[in-house]
């Protein structure tokens, strides 16, 4: 039933939402409109009863795995528990129903929250300037690169190369490209870290930014970080930190302290904002002091004012764009709803607690690694930060079970799959990130399932998943003959 599309449930004349009479005169309201503006009919949307709509979307929801229902060890995505108090509080009218063009004078609670969040982000990063505007991690990358570009322009430099690691997220080179840079790739060495020789070879007077992920996508903290720091800055370039893996180092190590000049956070990963099926997220960025003036506007500021009673208190305001600001990268303030959840989360943990988040995330990943390595290769050693990358290449050789097969089969055991085939530097990569919000029992059950799969027949695994409503969709066909929207069938009943 739930596999039916909305459009197939539609029946002319059904209706859910209605308004009453407007209560104002309606004659002539439309007469002012020139005919060329008006459509004769409204768009051909489906027609449904309210009960249809509810059952349809409730039904569809049950076809998803999610953190609320399943262990979701998707590497690089930090699928941690999304606290329900965040949802409740962020839905308060004083947060959810605020219009983005309201005046700061009547938004002092909200702006205080956003100001404090800027401060917290700065403290955690070890950097100085914060913009909460970017709408996603990749958007933060782009914004930071536009900031870097503005900086170099301001000092009369025409540096136009961005270096990215071969193990980096694909967004790194794509963002660099969008910001008008050219990109070069720096290799990883056998340890899975940045190859310092290759970095040295590619750093030159045209290098604007070196984009680094640390811990990197193998879950390794790059132990040569201080050397890289020196090399890049000696070359006159900036270091950008891809903050996707911040869940590993909260309170343990600060990007600003190990050399990053710019970075973004993924609050939907690190700070428990829900992922929402692929969005919304947010991508706030932090930059070193000398880059602050290039940040997009507005930023929340505060100043002391005197109250009517003669006491002083903080007044929170929005900064005007400076002449150096890159302007803005999205409309309105930013993804406030996502940021509010990050704020609530950080208030829940405090400084001591937030370090323990990373400690437990690291512990869980290392525990999983210690168990998994008995039956799957883990090419880059026995220790990791918050995630690790195993390889199914031996399994593939021995039993023709690929990383994809493994991923599909684990679904049958009631777990979401790890990330597979990323990072590109590991053959048949299986990237596992357990997060700190899973129990040892769950981790043990996951290991047990993985182990059992490695012991299963190839046939069983190749045809997996067996327990899901669908199995192994035809991706190639989908791309070759794209069907990107529903169309009214020629005859009423020829839909499957």
């Amino acid at each position: 039933q739930s596999a039916q599309l909305l459009f197939e449930l539609s029946r002319p004349g059904r209706r859910a939402h209605r308004l009453g009479e407007p209560g104002v005169p309606t004659t002539d309201a439309l007469s002012g409109f020139d005919d060329r503006f008006l459509a004769s009919d409204p768009p051909p949307l489906p027609e449904l009863a309210e009960g249809d709509v509810v059952r349809h979307f409730v039904g569809l929801s049950t076809l998803n795995m999610s953190v609320d229902t399943h262990f979701y060890p998707l590497g690089s995505c930090t699928m941690k528990y999304n606290p329900k108090r965040n949802e409740r509080i962020a839905s308060l009218p004083g947060l959810a129903d605020v219009h983005p063009m309201q005046d700061p004078s009547h938004l002092q609670g909200l702006l205080e929250m956003l100001y404090e969040l800027q401060e917290m982000f700065a403290e955690i990063s070890g950097l100085h300037g914060v913009s909460l505007q970017p709408a996603a991690g990749a958007h933060g990358e782009l914004t930071a690169l536009l900031v870097a570009e503005a900086y170099f322009r301001s000092i009369g430099s025409s540096r136009n190369i961005v270096l990215t690691a071969d193990s980096a997220h694909g967004t790194n080179p794509a963002s660099a490209q969008m910001a008008g840079f050219q990109t070069k790739t720096v290799k990883s060495n056998a340890d899975g870290l940045v190859d310092l020789d290759d970095l040295a070879a590619k750093l030159d007077e045209n290098t604007a930014v070196f984009m680094l992920t640390n811990p990197n996508t193998l879950g390794l903290f790059d132990r040569n970080i201080e050397q890289m720091n020196k090399m890049v800055h000696d070359a006159g370039a900036l270091i950008y930190l891809d903050g996707a893996n911040m869940n590993a180092i909260l309170g343990i190590s600060r990007p600003g302290d190990f050399g990053a000049d710019l970075m973004h956070y993924n609050p939907h990963k690190t700070f428990s904002g829900p992922h929402g099926g692929g969005g919304p997220g947010a991508g706030p960025i932090c930059v070193r002091d000398f880059l602050t003036k290039f940040l997009p506007a507005p930023i929340v500021t505060r100043r002391e004012i005197e109250t009517a009673e003669g006491q002083t208190e903080w007044y929170y305001d929005l900064s005007e764009p400076t002449e150096h600001s890159i302007g803005r990268v999205r409309s309105f303030f930013g993804n406030t709803g996502v940021l509010a959840r990050a704020y609530i989360y950080l208030r829940t943990y405090g400084g001591d607690g937030i370090r323990r988040v990373s400690e437990d995330a690291v512990l869980s990943a290392n525990y999983l690694l210690s168990q998994v390595k008995h039956f799957l290769d883990v090419p880059h050693g026995d220790r990791c930060m918050h995630e690790f990358v195993a390889s199914a290449s031996r399994l593939k050789k021995d039993k023709k079970i690929s990383a994809m097969d493994l991923a599909k089969r684990i679904l049958d055991y009631g777990f979401h799959a790890p990330t597979v085939y990323f990072p590109l530097v590991v053959d048949e990569a299986v990237m596992v990130e357990p997060t700190e919000t899973e129990s040892k029992q769950t981790l043990d059950a996951f290991v047990e399932a993985l182990f059992r799969i490695t012991d299963e027949s190839g046939d069983t695994v190749h045809e997996a998943p067996h327990s899901t409503r669908i199995s192994r969709p035809d991706d190639v066909g989908a791309a070759r003959r794209p069907v990107l929207h529903w169309s009214q069938p020629e005859t009423p009943d020829d839909q499957s």
Binding site: R15, L110, A174
Partner: protein, 465 residues
């Protein structure tokens, strides 16, 4: 602590299995001591749920909002009614705690919603293809321009007008600064109509970006602009308002090539500007240049109809620096809300919503003009937004007075006049310096509109009302 699972016993057992004596030992193995933070982060102290809820409730109560105040603010974000069903569906953990559907077998819910969303957007716009959403209406407009520039190689001119949303033009300027492209901002006429765009189109024009209804609520002759652009080999991008389409013609029906919109008004809360929903649809033949996720239909190994993310060769995780865009997410949860919202509305509900906006806006114009203190700036009908000039007072003071009377009466346009970004005009023309922008949605009642006029009329002024 808060959401942590491990007990001290768990930690001991796990460390033993790892063969480490402590978590610090693992960290020290990975992170050079020299870059370890040697102190605790200075964050506010941890606070538990009960106190946190009380504190944040107090904080929230300090913000005026569309619940505590009657809201006449628009400018790209609107106080439209959100049916309870939308919240009920979107608050299901299976939706909001899931991620991008990398594993199609356990993501058919999200994938089908994306496919349904895309279909609804094609129905709404009359265009052949939609992506699964972008960040917001503003960045979507710029993504459309980038798409047009990529399609129209050799042309580098982007023509827009000074009544397109100022923030959208700021974004455009920021994104294009380091790219070989020129932004031409055409002045609209005194009624806020950008017909002058037509004359500015030339053979270097990659695209035209027009907003309809535009930022100040004016209607544009999109069909004429699109025809002129097409004749010159340029693409037309329309930034539209989805709620307007209950009455206004669809972008695709007017010859638009790429349509973008802010989808907040389709079931998404105001939330001080985000997260919002960037809608983008285009002609079918442009699909391989379309940024963002796309869900498509296919069959599984047993022949069952199903949905997957498709055309991923456009995307960054495969193409890296050659991708059409760096975007690797979409606003699934907001797209879900829009999908549920449109399902509830249907064609008649959308039309009714448009009609309520139109009738109430017309009424608001009449009552505000009747006060004699105020005048409407620009002629012509309005969908839900119009500009008002106060003959007798300072706009900022007027609106402050209204706020203190539980009224969000309008947006002060003064600060937006004449803004520049990197030499490009991003602000509004001078005629709006002493004006404010008013939006009237279907939620406003006659009594609220009357009260709005009444309060504005009684605000302190320099001459009698």
């Amino acid at each position: 602590m808060s959401y942590l699972f491990h007990t001290d016993d768990d930690r001991r057992e796990m460390l033993a299995a790892i063969g480490a004596s402590s978590i610090d030992e693992i960290i020290n193995d990975q992170v050079p001591q020299s870059v370890q933070l040697q102190r605790q982060l200075e964050l506010p102290p941890a606070i538990h749920e009960m106190e946190l809820t009380a504190e944040l409730t107090r904080l929230a109560d300090r913000n005026a909002n569309a619940n505590s105040h009657v809201c006449f603010l628009g400018g790209g974000a609107y106080d439209h009614f959100i049916p309870a069903v939308v919240d009920e569906i979107a608050s299901r953990g299976e939706y909001y705690t899931s991620y991008t559907p990398y594993q199609a077998e356990v993501s058919q819910g999200n994938l089908q919603v994306m496919f349904e969303y895309e279909t609804l957007i094609t129905q709404l716009t009359g265009l052949g293809v939609s992506n699964a959403s972008l960040y917001d209406g503003g960045s979507a407009a710029t993504e459309a321009v980038l798409m047009a520039l990529a399609t129209q190689r050799g042309r580098n001119k982007v023509i827009t007008s000074d009544v397109v949303h100022p923030q959208y033009r700021e974004i455009l300027a920021a994104y294009l600064r380091n790219i070989d492209a020129e932004i031409v901002v055409v002045a609209a006429d005194e009624n806020g109509c950008s017909a002058g765009i037509i004359d500015a189109i030339d053979d270097q024009t990659a695209c035209v970006l027009v907003q309809h209804p535009n930022f100040i609520g004016g209607l544009e002759d999109v069909a004429a602009i699109a025809a002129a652009a097409k004749a010159a080999g340029a693409l037309t991008i329309e930034s539209f308002d989805p709620v307007s389409l209950g009455r206004l013609r669809r972008p695709g029906d007017m010859g638009v090539d790429i349509a973008v919109a802010e989808g907040q008004g389709l079931g998404n809360p105001l939330a001080y500007g985000g997260p919002y929903l960037g809608i983008m649809a285009c002609r079918e033949d442009l699909v391989r240049r379309l940024p963002g996720r796309i869900a498509g239909q296919t069959t599984d190994r047993r022949g069952k109809r199903c949905w997957v993310l498709t055309l991923q060769t456009r995307e960054q995780h495969i193409r890296r620096e050659k991708a059409t865009s760096n975007i690797c997410s979409n606003q699934t949860l907001l797209a879900l809300r829009a999908t549920v919202h449109l399902s509830l509305l249907g064609p008649e509900g959308l039309r009714e919503t448009s009609d309520h906006c139109i009738a109430k806006t017309e009424y608001a114009k009449q009552v505000i003009v009747a006060t004699e203190r105020f005048e409407i700036v620009g002629e012509g009908p309005s969908l839900k937004e119009f500009v008002v000039r106060d003959r007798n007072g300072d706009v900022a003071e007027l609106l402050e007075y209204a706020r203190n009377h539980a009224l969000l009466a309008g947006i002060d346009l003064g600060p937006m006049v004449g803004l520049q970004c990197e030499g490009t005009l991003t602000g509004l023309p001078d005629r709006y310096r002493d004006c404010f922008l008013v939006a009237v949605t279907e939620k406003r009642t006659r009594a609220e509109i009357d009260q709005w006029a009444e309060i504005l009329c009684h605000a302190p002024q320099t001459a009698a009302c």
